[in-house]
Structure formats: structure tokens, C-alpha cells
Subunit: 333 residues, 2 copies
DNA sequence: CTGTTAGCGCGTTCAC
DNA sequence: GTGAACGCGCTAACAG
């Protein structure tokens, strides 16, 4: 007779011998309500015994805001880093009663706006920056917290989480530490990863300036051995020759390793190569790849801390992302 | 005055000069309602002009079921295949007005049940099988469609999507085609991937039986070159020696390639190696890796078709997953 | 003090 | 074509 899953606050109320209002007050610890501990006990006991959990639909309807966090999935291959980030975000948000919903980040903002309108997310998480007009319209839909992971236009760089600057700095620093003066940058050919590639290159360029090195010689390196051979030839033909290369990511680095092997070059003696990501494959190349790892767990926690602060209208925690990024020294550089 | 995003069916109704009921009937194309085309036009025009989209909270409350699809993220490293699948599922579901929500698949079913209770998903998508009791309890919460991607216990194998059997078959077939009679299987050491590894190995074993080959010699191959060296030594010491190895995935295969290189073995002449996944890195190993690719787009579409059929209480489309799996011949086997 | 009543939020659907 | 009730939790106003 009692349909399973149909336990509402009414059921809890009658089981505890109180009204639905009281149930709500107790379960939400509403401040300013003087309800004796004995009653609270009874209500809570009844709630757990019956397995009550409030309907998020009804709650959302009333509150004007859901417990969902909208995560706009960029249109690019999801590597292990982004994948792990997703996993940790999901787990971390769940601990705060928030649920991650994934949606494709389409070109036009419309479909995102419409979804936000429909589900009234507590927060919106994106990789690419959200422009002001869109942000404004979002405010109408429960005023979600908005967090962009990657920096947008330089200058408009509010609190950005994945600065990527440290990544480049660590790459350059390590190459400089191991005696390289002339650096190359292996740029990806997939236009979809531009939002990641641009700030990474910028970080490398900045680090070169800071260390007094020449700016890096940028070559496009598609994920294909023949093309990588061409890039390496160009670097080695330069005067002075490039001896160390910062790669956009580990896959780009692997293309370079394969090409260098083809050319009979020795890594790192003839050419030092350093990647980004610490892809599981990076430990298994020949030679194993030196790379930069982002600790996605720390990173996810940082994102969540920022979101929660915004939701509670508190100042954002001023934590640097440098703790989350670290050099993994293997043998390619 | 008109708060943005606060357009409700009441607004549309008054703009079109009709009642909210009519708005609902028109916008949902409710069958059995005789509403003249002119009125319908007016309602639709008003809706688009005002930018109306219904509140999913209210709709869920009324319908007892939301437009969310719960996706239980298994606790394992998210490789490119699972990542791409996620992307395609998201996009494909969005085209049907469904939204993917991601939740960690925790050990106990409780937290999942509770979430389902709260959000009333239209469907639940899991990798590992859902047991009968859990399935039963779910029925109470709007009776979501349930789809398990991986097979559970053999025997209880209802409609399973990612059978993995074809994967193993393709691996064995190719090795047999290229003259290998004694096969090895490189088994992963990460217990979290067991749900994938078990059916893949089962597929390999079945294929060996079908082709009259000896059962594969299984060696555990951690993602570490030293350990992979040990495995290769064991295979080569066997009589008759193993000449071709099916790997759990591309990373396992890469460990083997690195180990073989260390041992001075030639691939594929001394040892043929075949992976699974077609990880972007697979094309960049030396030699490039022969592997099995799953077309995640086709696969996602298949999942969605099955879900939609279940939602409409129609028989599931009987499509084989073989179309989605394909051999990529490079040079390692 | 302790707790209740009543109405809102918004789309859906039955009965007229 | 419409009025009205419903689904469920929240909370301002109010009573014992």
C-alpha cells in the first residue's frame, strides 16, 4: 500500500506526530525556531526510519534554485586529466549535496541559457570564459555562481583557476636547469584545444622572458610522426639550434619522441622533450617522458571551495594553483 | 519589471489570450484535444516571442519523473574512450531533451538510490550491472529505464551493450590471421578495471576455442616496464613459446612495447602485440600499435536508442555492437 | 515557549 | 476551450 519511494514530509510528520512545517524546520535546522530537542529527535528518527529524502523538484520549485551544478563540456577530446577532474568534481560536489550535470558547450550560448532556465543550477562551471551579457542573463535564473576554469582574454582575467601559467613555467625552468638555452614550443594542430594551448604557450613565453632566454621557437606538431620529423628538422636547422622542446601535451611529446627515434636522435642528449599531463602512457614511452602533472583532486577541491564561497556570498579563497601542478622528472628531459 | 527568466506559462497564456491549460496542451501537443490551428499558432508565437521554456522543477513535480539521465561514473581512471562516450551521450541525449547527470558509483547502492529518489531520473545508466533488489527499489522512483553497459554475471546477461566479446574476437582473429598459434593475454593489475577486463578476457578465450587455438596464457602486466619484462620472459620461456599477445588495453600494450624494446626484441617479428582502445597515443608508439577501436558515437547512439525505447515501453532495438568495434591495423601485429 | 495553518511556486490534467 | 486541484516542500503569519 505504501508505494515505495513515495515518502513525503507528510509521512514523516504523521509518524512523528507533528506538522509538516515542523518537519521542515527540524530537518533544515532553520534558525530562529525554538523546537525542543525531544521533538527534533522524534522527527529525525522518523525521517531516517522511513528513509525520507525531500523531493528536489519541490524544493527547487520553492527555492528558485536547484542543487545541480551545470558543467559545460568543451568540444574537445577528453583526456585523462579532464576525465579525472570530472570524477573528482562529481565526488566532491556530492559531499556537499550538489550534483554535477553535464551539457555540451555548444557554440551559441542559447542552449546553455535555456538549460539554465529550466534546471536553475546552483552553479555553472565552464572551461572557456563566459561573456558579460550571458552572465547577466544567467543572473535571472536563480543567479547561479559562475566559474570559468580557463582564462579568457588577457586583461579580463578575474579569478581564473587553471591559469596554465605555472605549467609553462615548470617546463621552461626544468629545461633551463638542465642546461638548455634555446627552446622550442610544440604547438598542437587541433583547433579545439586552443583555449588550453594559448595560455600554456603564454606561460612558456613569460618564463623565457623571466629567465632571460630567447622566446621559444614555435612549430606546429600534428599527432603524426612524419609531421613531427619536419618540426624537429626545422628546430635543429636553426642557428643556434633548438635543444629543448616544451610540448603542448604528452601526446604531442610522443609524436616528437617517435620522430626523434626515426631520425636516430638520442633523447635527451640530442633533443630534450617535456610534456604536459602525465598521461598514463607517459611513463611507458622510450625513454619515459618527463612531464608536468596537475593534481586533479586538489584542483577539483579548489574549484568546489570557490563555488561554495560564491554560493554563500563569501570572498573567494585566494589559493594559488601552484600547489596542484608539479614536475615529474623521468628521462626525456 | 518583468524579471528576466521569470516567464511562466501564465505569461504566455495572457499574451496569447488563452488559459494556462491551453498553453500546456498546445506546447505538449497533447493528443485528444481539439484546439484550432489559429489558436495554436498564437500560443506558439507568444511562447517563442517571450522566450518561454517550462520549469523542469514544476514539470518533474507533476509528472513524477524528470528529464535527467543518471550516469553512474565507475571508480576507475577515465580514459579517452569513456571520456568520448560521455561527450557523445551528453550531446545525443540533449537532442532528445534529456540531460546527463553524473554521480559517483559508490560501493553501496544507497547513495545512488537516494539520488534517484531526489531527482527522479528518466533513466539510469551504469557500467556495472544493477542487481534485482536495487532495480526494484528504483521502480518506486518514477520507474526509470535502467541500462547496464557491461555484462554482469554470465548467465544473467540480458541485453548488454558493451559486450566486449567482439573486442577479444577481433584481437584473436587478427593474430591468428597473421600466423600466431600460441597467444598470451596481458591482464591489468588495477582491480578497478576488472568489470572491463573480465569480459574482454572471456571474449579472447571464447575466440581461441572457436578457432581451435590453445587457451591464452594469462600474465598480469602492471603499467611498469620492469614488470612487463618479467611477463615477456615468461611468455617466451613457455613451450611452445607465445608469439602474440592480446592486451587488456593500449596502455598495457605500451608497457609491453617498452619492455620488448628493452629486451632488444623486434615487434612484431619476435612478439606481436595488439591493444584495445585506439588511445591517441597508440598511433605514436614505436612501432605504432595495432589495436581495436570502439566507435563511441555509434555506441552512444545505440545506448540512447535503447533508453528511448524503454522509456516509450517499446521493444529494445536489437542492434549488434559489432558495428561499433573495429580493428585498426598498424605495425605492432 | 511550542507548534500549526495557509499559501506560494509552476506545469499538468480531470471534469465541465 | 476553461476552472480547479494536484504534486511537495518552504516559510510568513498566527494560535494554543
Amino acid at each position: 500500500m505504501t508505494e515505495p519511494g513515495r515518502i513525503t514530509s507528510t509521512d514523516v510528520a504523521s509518524a512523528a506526530g507533528v506538522s509538516r512545517a515542523t518537519v521542515s524546520y527540524v530537518l533544515n535546522d532553520t534558525p530562529g525556531q525554538k523546537i525542543p530537542e525531544t521533538t527534533r529527535q522524534r522527527v529525525r528518527e522518523a525521517a531516517t526510519r522511513l528513509g525520507y529524502s525531500p523531493s528536489s523538484a519541490a524544493r527547487t520549485l520553492r527555492r528558485g534554485r536547484s542543487d545541480l551544478v551545470l558543467y559545460l563540456l568543451p568540444d574537445l577530446p577528453i583526456g585523462p586529466t579532464v576525465g579525472d577532474l570530472l570524477g573528482h568534481l562529481t565526488t566532491g560536489l556530492a559531499q556537499h549535496g550538489l550534483t554535477l550535470v553535464v551539457h555540451p558547450a555548444s557554440r551559441d550560448a542559447e542552449s546553455m541559457i535555456e538549460l539554465a532556465r529550466a534546471i536553475r543550477p546552483a552553479a555553472v562551471l565552464t572551461f572557456t570564459a563566459v561573456d558579460e551579457p550571458t552572465r547577466d542573463r544567467l543572473r535571472g535564473f536563480g543567479d547561479p555562481a559562475v566559474l570559468s576554469l580557463l582564462p579568457g582574454d588577457p586583461g579580463n582575467s578575474r579569478e581564473t583557476v587553471l591559469s596554465q601559467g605555472n605549467t609553462g613555467r615548470l617546463q621552461v625552468q626544468h629545461l633551463a636547469d638542465t642546461g638548455h638555452q634555446q627552446l622550442g614550443y610544440a604547438w598542437p594542430d587541433d583547433p579545439r584545444v586552443l583555449p588550453f594551448a594559448r595560455p600554456r604557450l603564454a606561460g612558456v613565453q613569460q618564463a623565457c622572458r623571466d629567465l632571460g632566454l630567447d622566446p621559444p621557437s614555435v612549430q606546429e606538431v600534428p599527432l603524426d610522426v612524419a609531421a613531427a620529423v619536419t618540426a624537429i628538422r626545422a628546430w635543429r636547422a636553426a642557428t643556434p639550434a633548438i635543444t629543448g622542446v616544451c610540448c603542448y601535451n604528452d601526446e604531442t611529446a610522443m609524436a616528437l619522441i617517435a620522430a626523434a627515434t626515426h631520425l636516430g636522435l638520442r633523447i635527451p642528449d640530442d633533443l630534450a622533450i617535456i610534456g604536459v599531463d602525465d598521461n598514463p602512457a607517459a611513463a611507458l614511452t622510450v625513454p619515459p617522458l618527463t612531464t608536468i602533472r596537475t593534481d586533479t583532486r586538489i584542483f577539483a577541491e579548489l574549484c568546489i571551495a570557490i563555488l561554495l564561497a560564491q554560493l554563500n556570498r563569501q570572498p573567494p579563497p585566494r589559493i594559488l594553483d601552484s600547489t596542484a601542478v608539479r614536475l615529474i622528472i623521468r628521462q626525456s628531459a
